[in-house]
Symmetry: C2
Subunit: 597 residues, 2 copies
């Protein structure tokens, strides 16, 4: 059975030594997030994930969810009890607002804990994860009454939340959706239609499920401009907050999927269900995007979270697998064979994964901090700067980190040889689970288009210029330090490639949008490389500073330098090729007739 240990020390290294949370103590919530408090949260939260959720991960995959003939759905054995414990210990409330019963800690702390949830049991983590997204939408766009009625119980976890976008014939192109909403005399709406791929759509964990549903009000434009957002509770909520009758919404079936089998993926039928408009009519997409953006960061984190547990198990296996001899001669002449870790190529697979994971963690946590700063920073300029950056980074975190997580999990599975292919060892599940993160919440190709077609140009390119300036500044600050050269020189080169790619897009993408589309994926990969290269530069700087300060755990910080150099030597060189792919343009890509595919 797979093992899992929450990497609390690594998380703390990033929060305290790289992001320096103490610098933000003047901001709301941060004063309470002292290093000791954060350590306590992460240690206890990590323990909960290790001891309660992780043991259910493999069994949950094997058993999956079951839909009973009455339309109810049961989660795998143990999930219900684990969810009860999850609620009781308040793990879902860390960074939720205090006025709705949350603990009011910074978002970045909640995000840090969320990684452990994902690593230990990604399918389980879907239930509270989607709920958090739904809460954000209601908090930003919902009426005061809606907030009062629904949010406290969603924060506590007694009620779950879902997002309902996709229909059988459309996912990305929501303008095509057919679910309709008929206004009722009392101000509510009757919602009718079918939604598919609804995570947590029906389950036995909570007494109520608050569905957020996109639909078109009768008479609204039959395109993307006619979409409104509705709250549709599974069970009606009475004026006194107690639960009433069941609403006209039911689960028609659940999907048999490649992975995250413990997460119920439902076809939801709305048969004249009562719904409540959230925010303005025909502004549903904007309201849903608040949820989507939060969810996209969480999905990006899934990529690295699953890859983290895959790495932990592969490293353990490699240490214990005694077979073959070092290429340079027996490393352990007293034994019949050496650990397979004597082989450079086994180390390559593991270090590729770990160098990705650790930088991805730093990148995601920085993203979490940006979300805090976008809301809470002291000045409008600082808030705008943070908002610019997180807006630019969201598609990269989602798209690049989920691609990388899948690739890393696949590498870790490879370390096991044939055992990696057998379900018993758990590595297959990590790969199967990681796969979905590249697809949902906007397939990664859509992320690349969002980055290139929307985020780059927003506000006249203010965000990307700010990002370039930030990377250039870190390079300039560290250039004279010879110890930093192995990380800074390749990063500068990669930044040059990214800038050249951006220039190419400006010159060629506007004239012919197909050029932008053709370049988008390679551009997202190139940007992701630079983001992780930047993160490694920051982590290397922090590690060198700790070593210079005489930190006691020398090898911990020296290993960071090894990993930083590994990334610089073995991932960053790809940026040159990515630039060439960007510059290839769209002509040949568009040349084949559709019928000839």
């Amino acid at each position: 059975m797979p093992v899992y240990t929450a990497p609390v020390k690594d998380t703390q290294f990033i929060l305290q030594d790289v992001l320096h949370l103490e610098n933000y103590a003047n901001l709301e919530g941060f004063a309470d997030a002292t290093p000791d408090t954060v350590a306590a949260v992460l240690e206890q939260g990590g323990k909960f994930c290790e001891e309660v959720l992780h043991p259910l991960n493999q069994s949950g995959d094997a058993e999956g969810c079951t839909r009973l003939p009455d339309g109810s759905v049961t989660t795998p054995k143990g999930f219900k009890d684990a969810y009860r414990q999850f609620i009781e210990s308040g793990w879902g409330t860390l960074s939720m607002p205090t006025e709705f019963g949350g603990q009011g800690l910074p978002h970045v702390v909640g995000i840090a804990f969320n990684e452990y949830l994902i690593s230990s049991n990604m399918a389980f983590a879907m239930y509270p994860g989607l709920t958090h997204g739904a809460i954000s939408s209601i908090l930003v766009r919902g009426s005061e009454e809606q907030q009062k009625t629904f949010v406290p119980k969603m924060v506590s976890g007694e009620w779950l939340g879902t997002m309902n976008l996709t229909e059988p014939h459309c996912g990305t192109d929501l303008g095509l959706l057919r679910t309709k909403a008929e206004p009722q005399a009392d101000g509510s709406y009757k919602i009718t239609g079918t939604k598919i791929f609804i995570s947590s759509g029906e389950n036995d964990l909570a007494e109520n499920i608050i569905h957020l549903v996109l639909a078109k009000i009768v008479g609204a434009p039959d395109n993307v401009k006619g979409i409104s957002l509705f709250i549709v509770p599974k069970v009606h909520v009475n004026a006194d907050g107690s639960l009433g009758e069941k609403n006209q919404v039911s689960c028609g079936s659940i999907e048999h999927k490649m992975g995250i089998k413990g997460s119920a993926t439902c076809v939801m039928n709305y048969d004249g269900a009562t719904g409540y408009l959230v925010g303005e009519r025909e502004k549903g997409l904007q309201a849903m995007f608040i949820m989507m953006n939060a969810a996209r960061l969480g999905v990006g984190q899934q990529g690295m979270g699953v890859s983290e547990i895959a790495y932990q198990n592969a490293a353990k296996y490699a240490k214990e697998r005694i077979q073959g001899r070092a290429l340079t001669g027996p490393a352990d002449p007293t034994a019949k064979a050496d650990s397979i870790l004597v082989h450079p190529d086994v180390r390559r697979m593991l270090l590729d994964a770990r160098a990705f994971n650790e930088a991805a963690r730093g990148f995601v946590l920085w993203g979490g901090l940006l979300v805090d700063l976008a809301h809470k920073a002291a000045t409008p300029e600082e808030r705008e700067h943070a908002d610019d950056l997180i807006s630019l980074m969201t598609p990269v975190i989602k798209g690049y980190l989920t691609d990388g997580g899948y690739a890393a999990a696949t590498n870790c599975q490879q370390v096991f040889g044939g055992h990696g292919y057998v379900e018993e060892w758990g590595m297959s599940q990590f790969v199967r689970d990681a796969r979905i993160a590249m697809i949902y919440e906007g397939a990664n190709g859509i992320q690349a288009l969002d980055l290139v077609g929307r985020k780059l140009a927003q506000n006249g390119g203010r965000a990307i210029r700010a990002f370039f300036a930030m990377v250039a500044q870190i390079c300039a600050d560290n250039k004279s330090d010879a110890q930093m050269t192995p990380y800074i020189a390749p990063l500068e080169k990669a930044l040059g490639h990214l800038q050249a790619g951006t220039m190419w897009l400006m010159q060629n993408g506007l004239a012919n949008p197909d050029n932008a589309g053709a370049a988008s994926y390679a551009y997202m990969q190139l940007m992701g490389h630079v983001c992780l290269g930047l993160t490694w530069a920051k982590m290397a700087r922090a590690a060198l500073d700790k070593l210079a300060d005489g930190a006691s755990d020398e090898s911990f910080y020296k290993n960071k330098l090894i990993l930083a150099r590994h990334f610089a030597e073995r991932t960053l060189p790809e940026t040159g090729s990515l630039l060439r792919k960007i510059e290839a343009g769209s002509e040949n890509l568009m040349a084949m007739a559709i019928a000839d595919f």
Copy 2:
């Protein structure tokens, strides 16, 4: 349900227009392989795969194999009947020797058909595939009596074959194996031990299974030099050829795997089973390697075969999925949306897969032809040349094509969005099935080591020099033709990177073998890129020649040029980065203490 059409026209393009089989009509078996005969074989064989095997692929995955309490194993519903039809129509005998009941066609023709077997039902294809490998070992190393006793029924398919190498504690490092062989008075041996991951080890398709088993004869050196190879029939064969008693070998359990669920992967227990030495004692590994080399070509083909069916389905889905609009404005203004094939990035995923598949097919078939030439070419020089090349190419075909096949299948799954993750659509199965090909028959890291540590240096580097000369020749021959520039110029550049990488290995790998190990994977990828670039150059040349000859199906040949250019623009640029990874060396890779992983 997924669709499949055997790509007979594409296969014929390679066999006739690129490899020019007619040039070899003087060689044994080739005279019979006229274009018409080959067309008939491929068309009828393709039809069999489409109509009989493909319909069982998805159901076989869902049902898997079952081990009954008595140790017998049943294959999924329909497999037994399909296998009976397979035998009766002689599809397994195409390139088997006529003296043992085969049809004596060239190996390359058998290989061409094998792709269709794999695409339509990879799990099913495992049963005859392993048998062919076992036949090769017996034909080369077995005694005349062994050949007479076992080979005819294996050729006909009435009996199946297996290879038994791996034990629970060792796979790659066979020197550690513990299965023992005790000599008996009658010249036979009693075999005792446990083997794992034995494909087809037990099943209900055939009346007998001929196990080829590696074991150490009592008293032999307890290392890789003490290994012998044995034939262990499941059921004893009487002197008159009839079946006798059951041998002391049984299936202890079957594995629950990520994919190829219709293939029974068995733990085999040998409890003093009667075995017959194949070839000389303590030369077992060499005998097994005959089988392994054949199997490795077949596994490389699995990578591209699964990717081919994944592409076919993704292309169909993309054509039919009407959603969103072209970036340049509505392509079909009369409809509410366009086919997703208007999007450059959707095309990128599909064309990456197809450009890989078609070149991989050309590469594998060239490999098949080399196997023929290594045995049958007119002069010793030609045979040696072919043997050199196929020996060099075997790890590349196995390692590079299975990595590429998995990546391409993953891309094709991505085209489906959320539907790709749902088992119903079949794309998950292709990815799960393709995954094993990177692992078994020597994990891909082992292939890279074989390439760099053994094949490059063999005979003073004769093979790699021959390969370089061949690529350089094609570049020189086509350089003056401007139409070929888009394919030749990038190929020349890639060749330069490969030569530089080879030089680096010569200068750094001998002094420190860890440098060779550290570079091995990137080197294999770089070599693979050059091999497919070479294949595309040959295919582009053939397509241009056909177009110049006024071939009727213009778009067929023009599409080859689009695909050739796609590969040149979007895959070949990676060779520069790969060279930089090679040159990174092993120092940093070996720096972290084993305990710190």
